[in-house]
């Protein structure tokens, strides 16, 4: 009885691996190449004592600690110490995102599109699809971990050690699998893929923010956050394996819960079930615009709240970030009070400018998702009947674009507002909202241009539209690491995110603002022309 629950799991695993092979390969290659490329480059970047000691100073500032994790290595510092400190949190984040993607897709996703029901009708155990997804996830992480290890191992970075490299690979793999397992669990709780993804990101977001705040305030507390455990590996310094044990233990607990829940529920059901709703549509659902708005309502609220919380979290460390005296007490006597305030404002503003890139990229995610729905909803067959109504393509296209713009605008605004709110609470001499809003006016047109490029793809290259995601991913990496890794200026300016001139440190360049808006408008129009002329994709 028991074993029959798991019948055919390995067969399913093999089948899934074959189906997902290409996707897995893309993820794995991109992440491992990124990691090894950085490792290779680090000997050039941080090969000398001087370079190392100056970057250590930077990495110890609260701003950098909030972004990359606490710098805990002991002197004498090596290139490898810098590498570990800059890369671990960042790579762990990507590992978590990859795992959430595959976990939800292969469990709740398969279930909601009916595949599981089809499979369950065959001689396949009740737990088999879940076990197959778990094994697949495990294998992906194992593979990933091995490549991380190998990549660094052959990079020959100064100061690295085989044991440290091994711990890097194992730690990141364990961390990825932990978040994958949490996502498998969330897929039991929610009865639809979107809900499962949201819950997974909620978990990731909360653990990430706890890690961020504890790192800045008191790094010992970072143990509280499962996400923070990757920092506690203390790679190349202490090489601490204990956190790996923590990760594996929590993973085991999550998996036990997941398999328990899966055995005790029906296919298609979740702990949180879809409730009934209205029998009639209200005036809030009466046309294409209100329809798209309604479909993305939950996502809009979740993203606004999420980015606002993120803004608040970062804003709440502005006080620490701007506290020059803490790092350098001598400054107090050298600079007058006003000069001191100005200097600390400048540091905070520079920090805010870096954060704004992150916010702009994050605001791109939900708004681009909405935009790409023009074709994705079409593929799902949802729009077929709408097209048969007295509604022009024009109207449909504009409705999605409008909601995408609303989504991007308000999530970006929410992040900045959150930042201002917290900064007003914690700073003795807080930044004004107007000052911080420079970031909003600065990045808004860049965001619109990127959405415009998305619209271009939607209209002309619907089958390839997913390549638009390269823009935010590249934009984030090139700008986030821009200065730390000496990425050349032109390479930072490939994406529109790099076209914005250090707001809110500087004033908004209104000419630029106007030109970018114009460019965005043109892109939207050209995209629309493509959409109007072609066949609509069908399911």
């Amino acid at each position: 009885m028991k074993s029959s629950n798991y019948q055919q799991s390995l067969f399913l695993t093999r089948f899934n691996l074959k189906r997902d092979g290409l996707l897995i390969l893309v993820w794995v290659l991109v992440l491992s190449l990124l990691m090894s490329a950085v490792a290779f480059k680090f000997n050039d970047l941080y090969g000398t004592k001087d370079a190392i000691s100056s970057i250590v100073l930077t990495l110890k500032t609260p701003a950098m600690v909030s972004l990359f994790g606490a710098f805990t290595a002991k002197a004498p510092y090596t290139t490898a110490d810098i590498f570990a400190s800059e890369m671990m949190v960042f790579m762990a984040l990507f590992m978590a995102i990859m795992n959430i993607y595959f976990a939800v897709r292969n469990t709740r996703g398969e279930e909601s599109n009916g595949t599981v029901e089809l499979i369950a009708a065959h001689a396949v155990g009740k737990q088999s699809p879940l076990l197959a997804a778990t094994i697949e996830l495990f294998l992906i992480n194992l593979f990933m971990g091995c490549l991380f290890f190998l990549g660094i191992q052959i990079s020959g970075m100064t100061g690295m050690s085989t044991i440290g490299n091994l711990l890097t690979g194992s730690g990141l793999a364990a961390c990825g699998f932990l978040f994958g397992s949490s996502s498998l669990f969330m897929a039991q709780i929610s009865d639809n893929p979107r809900g499962a993804t949201m819950l997974s990101y909620l978990f990731l977001g909360v653990t990430y923010l706890i890690r961020m705040i504890t790192d800045v305030k008191n790094a010992d507390w970072t143990y509280l956050s499962p996400f923070g455990w990757v920092e506690k590996l203390s790679i190349y310094d202490q090489n601490n394996w204990l956190p790996v044990l923590f990760m594996l233990s929590l993973t085991t607990v999550l998996l036990l819960l997941t398999f328990y829940a899966n055995r005790h529920r029906d296919v298609g059901a979740g702990l949180l079930t879809t409730r009934g709703g209205r029998k009639r549509a209200t005036f809030l659902l009466s046309g294409p615009f209100t329809l798209v708005m309604r479909l993305d309502r939950l996502s809009l609220i979740a993203w606004i709240l999420g980015l606002c919380v993120m803004g608040i979290s970062y804003g709440s460390i502005f006080g620490t970030v701007g506290d020059i005296l803490k790092a350098n007490p001598m400054m107090g006597s050298l600079l007058g009070k006003n000069a001191l305030n100005a200097a600390s404002h400048l540091i905070v503003l520079k920090f805010a400018a870096l954060l704004l890139i992150v916010f702009a990229v994050l605001a791109t995610v939900p708004s681009m998702q909405t935009l790409l729905r023009i074709n994705n909803d079409e593929r799902k067959g949802w729009l077929e009947q709408i097209h048969a109504k007295a509604i022009s393509r024009n109207h449909i296209f504009i409705s999605y674009v409008a909601v995408a713009l609303i989504m991007g605008t308000f999530t970006l605004l929410a992040a900045i507002f959150g930042m201002w709110l917290a900064n007003a609470a914690v700073m003795k001499d807080p930044l004004t909202l107007t000052r911080l809003l420079r970031g909003f006016w600065g990045y808004l047109p860049a965001l619109y241009v990127i959405l415009g490029i998305g619209a271009l793809l939607v209209g002309w290259l619907p089958k390839l539209q997913a390549i638009i995601w390269l823009l935010p991913i590249y934009g984030l990496i090139s700008l986030y690491f821009g200065n730390l890794m000496n990425i050349p200026k032109w390479a930072q300016q490939i994406t529109p995110y790099g076209w914005i001139n250090q707001v809110p440190v500087n004033n908004v360049n209104w000419t630029n603002f106007g030109l970018l808006l114009l460019l965005a408008l043109i892109l939207f129009i050209v995209g629309f022309i493509g959409y109007q002329k072609r066949d609509l994709l069908e399911n």
Binding site: R280, L285, Q385, A388, S392
Partner: protein, 307 residues
């Protein structure tokens, strides 16, 4: 009656290099139910999607209400209701919300007829469509379409997910529309559905419309199944012109069954009459037979033109 609602002329549609519609020509007249029949993959849905302006024709012309289906899509759609072959609905809206939305998109309101239809089809409109079966999703689209006041109704294989009870309701509703003088295009590969309701049918195969006409006109192309018993000895008619599948009964003498080309019926009767018929049973051809014949011919090469 002769006013054309749909007029399709040598319609072609290419998907890349693949010619999905090679030559489709037919028309639907005002007030008639037109059955659009063909096997899976024949091009029914592609034709309908072209009519709706979802796909752009690669050749030929198509008009509805005398307007071009691509240029004047919005104008046409004001007077049109459509139910696709596979109905997919936004999972987080309820059936009731979607029905209302569909009506509103055509500037119409939820009305008494809508409620009546919801009751007849036994749909629970307060459930999210995520929880609906294929049949229930189809009901949502059907209820919205039937409660829309339009001049032309297009149904693409509408009952493939419905149980017989609901299928009957569907047929009743279609007949009611017909009585109101509405025009209906009904695609199907389920023949019994078409037989009851259609005034005329068109048969499409591999992207080509191969035959149109009324049921009676089609019937002359089909064979009637005859079982006969005679007093005089029954000769072997195996090779007689117009008789097919001749089989003598094994247990009874002078009894045989065979099928006759409808236009050879007279000749065959003249042949049988002198033999003193004691029992004769004739089964009229169903569309099933007609259909089977087309497909059989398909397998034995393209010889249906000679019938």
């Amino acid at each position: 009656m002769s006013e054309k609602v749909i007029a399709i002329n040598h319609l072609q549609k290419k998907f890349g290099k693949f010619l999905a519609l090679k030559d489709v020509t037919f028309e639907v007249k005002k007030g008639e139910v037109f059955g659009f029949i063909g096997p899976n993959g024949a091009g029914k849905s592609t034709t309908i999607r072209t009519l709706l302006g979802i796909l752009r024709a690669s050749g030929g012309t198509a008009t509805i209400f005398g307007k071009d289906v691509w240029q004047d899509a919005v104008q046409i759609h004001k007077r049109l209701a459509y139910v696709p072959g596979d109905v997919y609905l936004w999972p987080n809206l309820t059936g009731g919300e979607i029905i209302d939305l569909f009506l509103k998109l055509n500037h119409q309101q939820h009305n008494a007829r809508t409620d009546e239809l919801i009751k007849q089809f036994e749909l629970d409109p307060s459930k999210k469509t995520r929880t609906y079966s294929k049949g229930n999703r189809q009901k949502v689209a059907l209820i919205a379409a039937f409660s829309t006041d339009a001049d032309l109704y297009i149904f693409d294989e509408p009952t493939s997910g419905l149980d017989p009870l609901n299928e009957e309701i569907f047929q009743k509703q279609v007949l009611a529309l017909k009585q109101d003088g509405k025009s209906i295009l009904l695609s199907s590969h389920i023949l019994s559905e078409v037989e009851h309701m259609c005034d005329r049918i068109g048969i499409i195969r591999e992207g080509r419309l191969i035959e149109t006409g009324t049921l009676n006109e089609m019937r002359h192309l089909t064979r009637t199944l005859i079982t006969v018993q005679t007093q005089s000895s029954l000769p072997d008619l195996r090779n007689y012109n117009g008789i097919h599948d001749f089989k003598l009964a094994k247990d009874v003498i002078n009894k045989a069954s065979f099928s006759v080309d409808s236009d050879k019926m007279g000749a065959v009767m003249t042949l049988l009459a002198p033999l003193s018929i004691t029992a004769l049973q004739s089964t009229p051809p169903t569309l099933e037979d007609l259909f089977l014949r087309y497909y059989q011919n398909d397998e034995h090469g393209d010889d249906h033109h000679e019938i």
